[in-house]
């Protein structure tokens, strides 16, 4: 009976609802809600991402000097120019050398920091914050600190002061490419800025490893330390490691700020984005060549990323096994 009563009570309400105007807005049509929430972002994406990419593609086939609305079609000339330009091709070599060093180094340092901080029983939050805080510093600010304070070429630069205690002459860290001390400056700046962020990712991954695995390993006679790390921790971090390496590689491709601010007006140590800026955009205003170079770089980044994902098995979904 009670069930009937409930149905009786519910019936008029249902009839009332059906006779009312259709509800609009957030609880109405899922389609409306979908567009309401995703529409602004899609519009932003179209205006600020896809339109510039398509415009860039269009510009790359034109003689676009001092204008972004050119009328002289030049076919693939801009692509030929960029691909036969020693400096642009050389910048890809610079990037390769940079990525080959910075990706594994940042990976190892981040993982090392994560292992250390994760094991700490005292002031763990403090040390996490200390290592993470540089992530909030802008690359430009860090570059200026590195350039003017730590690696200044004069006698009162921090590094030169320390070297002076041992009777070593001042080093022009960023000015003289022989020997290439500038790599030390660039790499240390980027390590300082990035390692904390990836450390946090590794800490999260470390905390997801079940304790039972270590307990089982201990029962089976595995020695704590390297053996446990090699056969339990590292394999369990495979998914995170793959993601970290992928992110590091993309970040290396996008390197601009510290190179631009630390090595102004050089012909060396230019990653692709800096080379594009100097050779095609910036002061030269050759937007056609710049767009061609940017698209070549985009294709290259996509290819390398896909290849890396394929090799490292990113997205296979077997990491947790």
């Amino acid at each position: 009976m009670s069930t009937t009563t409930k149905l009786d009570l519910a019936s008029p309400a249902s009839a009332k609802a059906s006779s009312a105007k259709p509800r609009r807005g957030l609880r109405g049509s899922p389609t409306v809600n979908f567009w309401l929430f995703t529409g602004p972002f899609l519009i932003g994406l179209a205006i600020f991402v896809y339109t510039p990419i398509l415009w860039s593609l269009w510009l790359s086939f034109f003689e676009a000097r001092f204008t972004v609305t050119p009328d002289k079609f030049v076919g693939f000339d801009n692509y030929v120019y960029m691909l036969t330009n020693d400096d642009f091709v050389g910048s890809l070599g610079t990037f390769t050398a940079f990525a080959a060093f910075i990706v594994p180094t940042t990976w190892a340092l981040s993982l090392g920091l994560a292992l250390l901080v994760n094991r700490m029983r005292f002031m763990r939050a403090f040390f996490r914050s200390v290592f993470f805080l540089p992530t909030a510093v802008s690359y430009v600010a860090a570059s200026l600190i590195w350039k003017m304070s730590i690696f200044s070429g004069v006698r009162f630069g921090l590094m030169n002061t320390v070297l002076g205690w041992f009777g070593i002459d001042n080093i022009a860290w960023l000015i003289d490419p022989n020997p290439p001390w500038y790599w030390l400056v660039i790499v240390t700046a980027r390590l300082w800025l990035q390692s904390g962020f990836y450390m946090i990712l590794f800490i999260a991954a470390l905390q997801n490893i079940p304790d039972e695995l270590y307990e089982a390993a201990a029962i089976d006679g595995a020695k704590p330390g390297w053996q446990t790390f090699r056969y339990i921790t590292l394999p369990q971090l495979r998914a995170t490691s793959t993601a970290v390496i992928l992110l590091l590689l993309i970040a290396a491709y996008q390197a601009f700020d510290e190179f631009f601010n630390l090595l102004s007006k050089t012909t060396w140590g230019r990653p692709p984005l800096v080379e594009l800026y100097y050779k095609a955009l910036g002061e030269s205003q050759d937007y056609g060549a710049g767009s061609a170079g940017a698209l070549i770089l985009t294709v290259l980044i996509c290819a390398v990323t896909l290849l890396q994902g394929k090799i490292m098995g990113f997205g296979r979904g077997d990491e947790s096994k």
Binding site: W173, T267, Y278, L281, G282, S284, Q285, D286
Partner: protein, 421 residues
């Protein structure tokens, strides 16, 4: 009871209001930050773009002049020096481009229709301008900019340091290298020419007896003298007598004033700051001759005012340029001599500027007149960058100077072909 207490702020209303505000904010943001004035006064709004000068008081001076103009509301964008070129060039492609801006005369800006013809406002006073300044702004008989200041650039030296080291003022590049060696001590380097050495690119060419381009706009810098000069610069760069990695670039006299070097390449604008720091213990000399057939040289840099030809208020902008940089001679003298020292391009002003009539300032004017070289309007920013790469490659990186110049030739010829066919 207040009206607000009657409102029924349920979740939906709050959300609607928030979205409305976000949309309004977004729309407002699309049209904001143009740097334009509030639209008071005459109703015509002009925006002018300046690079940030190092001398104290310059920004306030430019804004003070603008405020005194009654026929338009003039707003100033003061851009950090190192970003100025790229910001200006990218801004000129947009609807928010400045109506007028300072820059150097470059032909690509004329050919691409970025700068307006100012012949009509300059013509009546053309004879009062330094002829070289007029020539450097002229294309096909039309004048495209009004010179505001001339900035001779040369070496500043500490008299006491040279006397102590028994060094005479160098008259050749070899003597300059020897002087740098003798003046270098444990704490002081003999010479500073900027960290990238690009400040002396142009003077090296002229002091080697060459030019950037011929009258027919062909390459003229690729000579044996320039190659010899580049080799000497390489020797100097590796000698250990050059200050490298200084916190400030050569346009700033701080390294010289703080005793980090005995000789520094800088501009005449730095004279008041150097006088304040060092009293009379300093002098100036031109970039010495590089080869026997060369001649000392001084780069006459400076800044000119241009009107954006694609702007909405071209005529109003031209009127302002005429008012400030042609009619208001008191402001021009103030601008040229009250902050840093610059030479007014107007002959009548240069003659009456008392601060330039004595001491090292007068010597600077003499070097300007005797050894000065002006910008070639055909030598564009892209060519300038290509020759900077010659210095980077051959002087700093030890590339063969001939190979570095060949590479530069390719870039410059590509540019020349695009500009002159």
């Amino acid at each position: 009871m207040s009206a607000s207490s009657n409102m029924n702020w349920d979740r939906r209303n709050v959300l609607r209001a928030a979205m409305g505000l976000a949309a309004a904010g977004g729309l407002a943001a699309c049209g904001s930050n143009t740097g334009r004035g509030g639209g008071s006064g005459s109703g015509t709004n002009l925006v002018q773009m300046f690079h940030a000068y190092g001398e104290a008081g310059t920004e306030q001076a430019i804004k003070r002049y603008a405020k005194a103009y009654k026929d338009a509301n003039v707003t100033t964008q003061w851009i950090t020096s190192s970003d100025f070129e790229s910001k200006l060039f990218s801004a000129l492609l947009t609807k928010n481009a400045p109506d007028l801006f300072e820059f150097h005369p470059q032909i690509q800006m004329v050919k691409s229709g970025q700068v307006a013809d100012l012949t009509d406002i300059i013509d009546p006073v053309k004879d009062d301008f330094n002829p070289a300044d007029i020539k450097s702004h002229t294309v096909d008989g039309k004048i495209y900019g009004v010179r505001m200041i001339d900035d001779p650039q040369f070496f500043f030296y500490r008299k006491s340091m040279l006397e102590k080291a028994k060094v005479e003022v160098p008259t050749t590049l070899d003597e300059l290298m020897e002087a740098a060696a003798k003046l270098t001590t444990g704490k002081v380097k003999g010479l500073y020419m900027g960290n990238d050495l690009h400040s002396v690119n142009d003077t090296l060419i002229w002091s080697a007896g060459a030019q950037h381009l011929t009258e027919k706009n062909e390459i003229a810098y690729h000579t044996d003298g320039v190659v010899e000069g580049l080799k000497k610069m390489r020797k100097l760069f590796t000698s250990g007598d050059l200050l490298l990695g200084a916190p400030t670039e050569s346009w700033d006299p701080s390294s010289f004033n703080q005793g980090l070097c005995a000789i520094q390449f800088c501009g005449m604008w730095a004279m008041p700051a150097i006088q304040d720091a060092l009293g009379d213990d300093w002098g100036v000399f031109p970039f010495p001759k590089v080869t026997d057939s060369g001649k000392p040289s001084v780069y006459n840099g400076g800044w000119s005012m241009f009107v954006n030809a694609k702007g909405k208020n071209v005529d109003a902008a031209k009127e302002y340029v005429k008012w400030l940089w042609i009619d208001k001679k008191d402001y021009q003298e103030d601008w040229a001599t009250s902050y840093g020292f610059h030479i007014p391009p107007r002959a009548s002003l240069a003659k009456t500027a008392d601060k330039l009539k004595s001491g090292n300032a007068a010597e600077g004017v003499r070097l300007f007149n005797e050894f000065g070289h002006f910008d070639n309007i055909g030598w564009t920013q892209a060519m300038r960058t290509a020759f900077e790469d010659v210095f980077a490659n051959s002087v700093r990186k030890n590339m063969d100077p001939e190979a570095a110049l060949d590479k530069c030739d390719a870039a410059v010829n590509r540019e020349l072909k695009k500009l002159f066919g």
